[in-house]
């Protein structure tokens, strides 16, 4: 059964939303979600790479020999990651500093390679574009949610705005590594509870 373009787009937002449904790309999810700003920045950078890589892979899928396809996909992805890296360095230097080595590491984000392999190499350009955009936006939403939970509990602020009264003691635990793991685990549990009903 062929899905429409709209369905390809929407499935990335709930049905296959990373990293909850597709348990891939956990490293950037945990590492950059200390603040909402970083989360959104990382999400958008990944979306850009996903969409561009999906388009190019689906265009070239007839040309790339299947034996060396993974290597070809990785080169395509790495090219776009370099583009993002240079753009961020030029126009969003603070964000570039905050995200650090996690920008070049988008190359090894399994979500991007996974979509190229599982979707873009077997489908036409327009569905691949919709798929990349959907998954990318889904990823951005997840990162925003996780970082909102962690930042609000860990520092008591969201993007500089004080959330709770002055008597609130921030749990600095939430912005450290253990908080990241536990927060993601609990959110995953909530997702499971909601979807099993």
């Amino acid at each position: 059964m062929a899905k429409t373009i709209g369905q390809e787009f929407v499935k990335g937002l709930w049905e296959e939303i990373p990293p909850f449904r597709l348990v891939l790309g956990l490293c950037p999810t945990l590492a950059v979600t200390k603040s909402v700003e970083n989360g959104i920045g990382m999400g958008l950078a990944t979306t850009f790479v996903l969409v561009c890589a999906n388009i190019l892979v689906s265009l070239l899928s007839g040309v790339i020999p299947s034996k060396i396809r993974i290597a070809c996909f990785i080169i395509i992805i790495a090219t776009f990651v370099t583009v993002v890296e240079l753009m961020m360095q030029a126009y969003a230097y603070q964000l570039f500093q905050n995200l650090g080595i996690f920008i070049p590491l988008i190359v090894v984000n399994c979500i991007v390679l996974g979509r190229s392999e599982a979707f873009a190499s077997k489908n036409k350009v327009v569905p691949s574009f919709a798929d990349g955009l959907g998954i990318g936006i889904g990823f951005t939403i997840s990162l925003t949610v996780i970082s909102a939970v962690r930042e609000s509990l860990g520092t008591g602020k969201i993007m500089g705005n004080q959330l709770f009264g002055s008597s609130f003691e921030p749990f600095s635990f939430m912005v450290e590594a253990p908080g990241a793991f536990i927060c993601l685990g609990l959110l995953l549990c909530v997702m499971n509870m909601v979807s099993s009903k």
Partner: protein, 191 residues
Amino acid sequence: MGDYTVLIISSILINNIVLAQYLGICPFIGTSKKMETATGMAGAVVFVMTLAAIITWTIDTYFLKTLNIEFLRTISFILVIASLVQFVEMFLKKSIPALYAGLGIFLPLITTNCAVMGVCLINIKEEYSFLQALVSSISYAVGFGLALILFAGIRERVILGRVPRPLQDTSIGLITAGMLALVFIGFKGLV
């Protein structure tokens, strides 16, 4: 000598690659359900990470930096890692079949293990010398193995317990990893 001891301890315990630097979490969650797969993966990572770090360090210092083409770093590093993994796989298959049987299925997975690429990038970012890069990458790899094996041990026990349904599998896995990370924070005052 003292500097190297500090480097080793901080790379294995304090800045543990998985539990403090958030790298290589996908294989950490994915291969930790059984002790056997965990030890296999740990072995493969130690092997590949050390080789990859040495090669990428050499390329970066003598090739990319001298020609002023550092913007190609991401592409060249991932190519080196991907081809290295492929090469190691072919080499082991041909000459050391026993080791290949043990590590075989984990090798392709390593290409997309961000810990390997991450360590290569950290070595460059910290401007380590060759020996420092070598020592730190071995220590990081040992740290990865240590965390993975500890985690697999805990997970094998967790499966036996009665876990509420929505928490099962990855969810409880992540929470367990959080507890383990909490333990590793305790090492912070060590150096």
